[in-house]
């Protein structure tokens, strides 16, 4: 890494939570196509976090000035008193966070049959989803929620028969026919701010140009993915070692859900905040002050939920 505190930082690693999932694709594309380099910023490595608040921790503790982080953990971190600024959107759908059961399990067919629901980590998006999805779908049965600790463990829980549904990473689904989707999250929630690009206010103030360059590079990468899904799939396949066909399926589906976007989308943000308020049972959660529109390029949307517009 480089040092975060000196002004004019233009070369650093980027922290991306759950980097092995599609979150990383715009970063891979941007690096590969030189979208960051041509704006004078060198992104070194993509440093993966384990989800939850870990990535924010890594960002703060490890000379990683900027990060693509789960929105829920940004909310939680800032509640705990960490100074953070959201400078751009990133992942704005819940594609990839579908809940699966074993193909052979005939008892569980729809969201109404789910009684034991596995999410990954506390305060992760999947936990929030386990609350908002039944609500949105109108499922009223009692649901016991368990934290698996990770995707692999979730699969293990499914196989062991201890839960009805769990998140199965697209890469695993692509590899075997053992899993059947029960809750396709993106079908229930059209928009959902899953991750955002964030940094510390201090870094943003000292290096506004760097931040703008990164955001703009990300935006261009998103456009590039839409135009060249095959190339993006190729990069992704290399990165996580799956075959290109599977990667292509993943990328194309992601595009169809409008998975990535550098801008702020009021509906997506509102949805995510609602989910978090529900999951954490905290109706007074504040979030408006986090967002800073100044670093966004002109060609992306920049709307915030209604409750924020009054305060600005």
């Amino acid at each position: 890494g480089g040092s975060a505190d000196t002004a004019g930082v233009t070369s650093f690693d980027i922290a991306v939570s759950n980097a092995s999932e599609p979150y990383s694709i715009p970063w891979l594309v941007g690096k590969d196509q030189g979208f960051f380099a041509k704006r004078g910023v060198t992104i070194g490595e993509i440093v993966p976090g384990k989800g939850g608040g870990t990535t924010v921790r890594n960002m703060l503790s490890g000379d990683l000035p900027m990060a693509d982080v789960g929105f829920t953990s940004v909310l939680e971190s800032s509640e705990a008193g960490t100074p953070l600024t959201v400078v751009a959107g990133a992942t704005q759908s819940v594609y990839g966070l579908d809940f699966y059961t074993l193909a052979g399990n005939t008892r569980v067919q729809t969201i109404n049959d789910v009684h034991k629901w596995a999410y990954t980590n506390p305060q992760s998006v999947t936990q929030a989803l386990s609350y908002i999805l039944p609500k949105v779908a109108g499922a009223t049965q009692d649901i016991e929620r368990v934290s698996s600790g990770g995707a692999g463990e979730g699969v293990a829980l499914l196989e062991a028969g201890s839960v009805d549904v769990a998140v199965v990473p697209p890469s695993v689904v692509a590899k075997t026919g053992k899993f059947r989707v029960v809750v396709s999250s993106a079908d229930h929630l059209k928009k959902f701010q899953q991750s955002v690009i964030t940094t510390t206010p201090e870094f943003a103030e000292r290096n506004p140009d760097t931040v703008k360059a990164v955001v703009a590079g990300y935006a261009e990468a998103v456009d590039f993915i839409r135009a060249n899904p095959a190339k993006a799939a190729q990069l992704y396949a290399d990165y996580i070692d799956i075959d290109v066909a599977a990667a292509t399926t993943i990328v194309e589906k992601a595009i169809s859900y409008d998975n990535w976007g550098a801008g702020f989308d009021a509906e997506a943000i509102q949805q995510a905040v609602d989910a978090q308020r529900l999951a954490m049972n905290r109706t007074d959660l504040k979030f408006c002050d986090l967002f800073q529109k100044t670093y966004l390029p002109a060609n992306v949307p920049a709307t915030l939920p209604a409750e924020c517009e009054g305060t600005r």
Binding site: S77, A80, S148, G149, G150, A156, E159, A160, S162, V163
Partner: protein
């Protein structure tokens, strides 16, 4: 203190009872208190952010407060303690049994010994997900992992114990025509006991490490996870409180077991 200067080279002189008027245990206390005070002062000086370090007094206060927190005690503490106890008991029994088999059978000895020697270079923690698959989500995977991790140290110590049985005792056993069971009960086990006890003490330490490390990195419950979660949630106070708690807990557990076991150690009688 000295009436005349010593003629003896310093390194064979008797150990002084006191240095600067204090006996060695007092210096131990001085050392500990000094370190704690230094951290406390550093944390209070303002030279370090509260996100990074908090005063020790607050850590301790919060750690004590945690003891009154039902969720913490039942959900984390008791659970971890239970896991540690079960794994420790399992590795004690299995470890002594395997060591006995190795002491009895040359073949077993030669088959197992190389693995015992290199075991601790292996990252057994990585097998946790596999265990989850095989044994479900309950306590079993952690218990198995912790047992696996601690059994090996028990084996190697118990083996040393069995093998250091004085040959003369074995001869005595033969001259009295003792049966195998008699030899195990009356000669081998008591002869090996001090080494077995030393192994058990380490076994407990290893069981604690394994349970807490698994909880810390991989699982979603227990004492280890309390620290991890507090770290992730920027709850520095809780994080340090958890660390203090875990440290004191491990320390007390080791001391208590050490004291309990040394009552059986005939070498100390």
């Amino acid at each position: 203190m000295k009436t005349r200067s010593s003629v003896v080279p310093s390194y064979v002189r008797p150990t002084p009872r006191r240095v600067a008027g204090l006996p060695s245990p007092a210096w131990t206390v001085v050392l500990v208190i000094g370190t704690i005070a230094a951290v406390e002062l550093y944390a209070r000086s303002g030279a370090v952010s509260r996100l990074d370090l908090i005063p020790v007094s607050e850590m301790a206060a919060r750690a004590i407060e945690l003891l009154g927190d039902r969720e913490f005690v039942v959900g984390a503490l008791l659970r971890s303690v239970l896991l540690i106890c079960v794994s420790f008991a399992a590795s004690a029994v299995a470890g002594v049994a395997v060591a006995y088999a190795m002491a009895r059978s040359r073949w077993m000895h030669r088959a197992v010994k190389p693995y015992v020697n290199v075991f601790y270079a292996l990252p057994v923690f990585a097998l946790y997900p596999v265990m989850v698959v095989m044994f479900g989500t309950g306590v079993l995977p952690i218990v198995l992992l912790a047992t696996l991790f601690s059994v090996v140290i028990v084996i190697s110590h118990a083996l040393v114990g069995f093998e250091s049985t004085p040959p003369i005792a074995t001869k005595l056993a033969r001259s009295l025509e003792m049966t195998r069971a008699q030899q195990l009960r009356k000669i081998l086990l008591p002869a090996a006991l001090p080494d077995i006890l030393a192994g058990l003490k380490l076994g407990l330490a290893y069981a604690i490490i394994a349970v807490l490390a698994t909880e810390f990195i991989l699982a979603t419950t227990g004492l280890g996870q309390v620290v991890n979660r507090a770290y992730n949630n920027f709850d520095t106070l809780d994080m340090y409180a958890g660390i203090v708690f875990v440290s004191v807990f491990a320390l007390l557990a080791n001391l208590a077991l050490g004291a309990a076991l040394s009552a059986f150690d005939w070498r100390r009688r």
